[in-house]
């Protein structure tokens, strides 16, 4: 696995971001430890350090969970408090794991980890089957529109590697998932502790004909995870070199949020509504003919139009919705409840505005998916549908169509803290 690759081979590797979620003690940290260990991404000194700590604490074997729990408080309490990012790679892909705590009061971390993920890995303890947390995680994966879901039914060694246990959980999960908005679900029976079906195929479960977890992670198709249809470039920064050789240079820098922009394309700038053409797409490495997500580029336009940060460059015949009245699904992150008629600063693409909460439509019970229209106290970790009025028009797409142009965060104007995340409906 660690045969050195040539530089040309490195250039063919791509990047998969996935998030892990699990309840306390269903072996999430052990699974990640196993992925890192069996793919030889753990270094000897790291291994020696956790081995020593495990021995000092009188634990049996090497506690792979210690690899991911980095903060002092986490090690002391034996729980994961905050999202930890972990990295490993195989010759095919580089992986970024957002390892999020499964504990109930830390749902906000799970939403955070999920926001940038291509894939969600959900763990179920084979002995316990689907629990409240499992549903919560699956719902969040669906709400955050993670394109791929892989469900690991773990601790198969403790249920004698029984196929019936696996099939029963699989059926039950599929039934629940049918009520959600997820298209691509994959199941793998594993034992993170023993290593069955994580990196190596298990001999103990001949009835399972699918690939290992790692095989799936390496091969799942992520080429169409970005929106390549609706051209959107939120202007991030205006580049003006003030150098003699670039006297009239005025470049609109940003990261493509959707679609494929081409040199010569007729484009419209928002909010002005002016149309012009793309003169060039510039980068440090020279001009390119096309730009697509998630490239960071600089666009030069034929005409001199007044554009600044927060504006958006789009295709003339495919413009986003423009409105000051938006409806969002919000996940609340703080002890102080969301205030009806409260005012918050919001960030959306590269734009900043203020909003007032005009209505709270319902609170979501994420265990039953029931919409509760009577309980409108939206506290920490609650998910609700709300109506906002913004101080200026936003240029947005439905979150389902575009995760970049469809998302906002709420900032408390007193504390400056990020207090909520919203997905535009």
């Amino acid at each position: 696995m660690n045969e050195p690759l040539s530089l040309e081979e490195y250039k063919k590797m791509d990047l998969l971001r996935f998030t892990t979620a699990g309840s306390v003690d269903d072996g999430k940290s052990t699974l990640i430890g196993r992925l890192l260990y069996d793919s030889k991404s753990i270094f000897e000194d790291q291994y020696d350090a956790i081995k020593e700590t495990s021995e000092r604490r009188g634990e049996e074997g090497v506690n792979l969970a210690l690899l991911t729990d980095g903060l002092k408080a986490e090690r002391e309490q034996g729980i994961t408090i905050d999202v930890a990012y972990r990295y490993f790679s195989t010759p095919k892909r580089k992986f970024i794991i957002a390892d999020t705590p499964g504990h109930i009061q830390y749902t906000r971390n799970m939403v955070t980890g999920a926001s940038t993920a291509n894939l969600a890995l959900i763990l179920i303890d084979a002995r316990n089957g689907i629990v409240e947390q499992t549903k919560r995680h699956a719902f969040i994966a669906s709400l955050l529109q993670i394109p791929h879901l892989v469900v690991c039914i773990n601790k198969m060694d403790l249920v004698d590697y029984g196929q019936e246990v696996y099939e029963k959980i699989k059926d039950e999960f599929s039934g629940f998932a049918a009520k959600l908005d997820v298209n691509d679900i994959h199941f793998v029976p594993v034992s993170a502790l023993k290593g069955d079906n994580v990196v190596e195929k298990s001999d103990a479960m001949p009835w399972y004909e699918g690939g290992t977890l790692l095989y799936y992670l390496e091969n799942v198709h992520i080429g169409s995870d970005h929106n390549l249809i609706d051209c959107r470039l939120p202007v991030q920064f205006v580049i003006r070199p003030y150098k003699d050789e670039f006297h009239d240079y005025r470049g609109y820098a940003g990261r493509i949020a959707g679609g494929i922009f081409k040199k010569g394309d007729e484009v419209m700038t928002l909010p002005s509504g002016f149309t012009t053409k793309i003169k060039a797409i510039d980068t440090f490495d020279g001009e390119v003919n096309e730009a697509f997500p998630p490239m960071s580029v600089t666009i030069l336009l034929e005409d001199d139009i007044d554009i600044s940060r927060g504006d958006m460059i789009v295709r003339k015949n495919n413009i986003p919705e423009t409105s000051q009245d938006i409806e969002v699904m919000v996940c609340w992150f703080t002890d102080t409840p969301l205030q009806l008629r409260g005012k918050y600063t919001i960030l959306h693409t590269t734009s900043e505005a203020r909003c007032v909460v005009k209505d709270i439509r319902y609170k979501m019970d994420i265990n039953t998916l029931h919409r509760n229209v009577d309980d409108k106290v939206i506290g920490m970790n609650d998910i609700a549908r709300v109506v906002l009025r913004t101080t200026k028009p936003l240029f947005f797409d439905e979150y389902r169509k575009n995760r970049i142009t469809g998302s906002i965060i709420f900032i408390d104007e007193g504390t400056n803290r990020t207090v909520g995340a919203g997905m535009i409906i």
Binding site: P4, L7, Y10, K11, K12, M13, L15, F43, E44, D45, A49, T68, D69, G70, L71, K72, D82, V83, A84, Y85, R86, Y87, S89, I96, V111, T112, S115, T116, I222, G223, L228, Q236, F237, I239, P241, K243, F246, Y249, A253, G254, R255, D282, T283, F284, D285, E290, F292, P294, M295, S296, F333, T345, H348, T350, I404, S407, I409, I411, N416, R417
Partner: protein, 300 residues
């Protein structure tokens, strides 16, 4: 055509986005430059982010006075090439002013003292964002770090109470006197950095390439002979073929035995190595949570 970026291009694009975001959201950012490969990569990415304009913020080097001479020479050349302003925060000055007290003994290091010099420099110049080249794969406390990491008026980090970071929406709002540390290459691993340096052919100090040097062995780590470090009687100098995987102070940066004298060979070596790059850093070995403890106080 395949509309899909490879992992290095995706990381590059993410970092450029963050660097541009800093220029847009903050009034007075500064790039912390150590002379190591990660901060050289940072200046390279910043150059890409604002091309053809110059990098719109100065660089700050916290000089412990115990740097490798090669680091300083390389730094000065690079600043001239980039045409950016370099500010130097001096640990020696902080010691002379009595802000900090120098450690003594065989393992004396100025590493911890950098924090005082750094905070002093940030305060003097009123910087509201300091960009650093720290990576999450380096160390377990850094694995918990945000891209935009809030620091209170004392420069402290509160790891248990961090702002959640979602999508590509970065909240850089702060009160007077507070500042942010921003880490645009958070998601890069050591191997990514080397692959990228080789792919883009980025110039580095020759300390990173294998060369002959007088070293001695202390607790299993090879340290370079220098005037800043006291050898114990049983520590004998020997000439070895070595290179440095990270570059910090001469007092605490271990050399590794290596024959890798080209970028390609380094990529190959890093891909097959079984020891983390900070494994040779004496400053991390002081205790299991030494990085977290230093970071809480305002270290990089």
């Amino acid at each position: 055509m395949n509309y899909h970026l490879n992992h290095l291009k995706e990381l590059e694009s993410e970092s450029i986005f963050i660097i541009r975001e800093i220029a847009a959201q903050f009034e007075k950012p500064v790039l912390m430059f150590s002379g190591g490969k990660d901060s050289i990569l940072m200046t390279y990415l910043a150059q890409k982010a604002f091309y053809p304009a110059r990098i719109p913020f100065p660089l700050l080097h916290v000089d412990t006075g115990h740097n490798f001479p090669e680091t300083i020479a390389f730094r000065d050349q690079l600043m001239e090439k980039l045409g950016v302003k370099l500010l130097v925060g001096s640990v020696q000055e902080a010691i002379d002013k009595g802000l900090v007290t120098e450690e003594t003994g065989f393992n004396a290091s100025r590493n911890g003292l950098q924090t005082a010099a750094l905070l002093e420099a940030l305060e003097t110049h009123q910087f509201d964002a300091a960009l650093g080249g720290a990576r999450r794969d380096e160390e377990k406390a850094r694995a918990k770090e945000r891209f935009f990491s809030h620091r209170d008026e004392f420069g402290q980090w509160d790891p248990k109470n961090q702002r959640p970071e979602l999508w590509n929406l970065f909240n850089g709002k702060k009160h007077m006197g507070e500042h942010f540390r921003v880490f645009p290459i958070s998601n890069w691993t050591e191997l990514d950095v080397w692959q990228y340096i080789a792919m883009e052919n980025i110039e580095l100090p020759n300390l990173y390439l294998a060369h002959k040097r007088m070293v001695f062995n202390r607790n299993g780590v090879y340290l370079a002979d220098s005037e800043f470090i006291n050898r114990k009687p049983d520590e004998v100098l020997e000439e070895k073929m070595v290179r440095f995987r990270t570059i910090g102070d001469m007092t605490c940066t271990g050399a590794s035995l290596s024959e890798a004298d080209t970028l390609e060979k380094i990529v190959e070596e890093v891909a097959t190595t079984r020891i983390t790059e900070r494994g040779g850093r004496a400053d991390d070995k002081r205790s299991e949570t030494s990085m977290e403890d230093r970071k809480k106080k305002g270290y990089f």
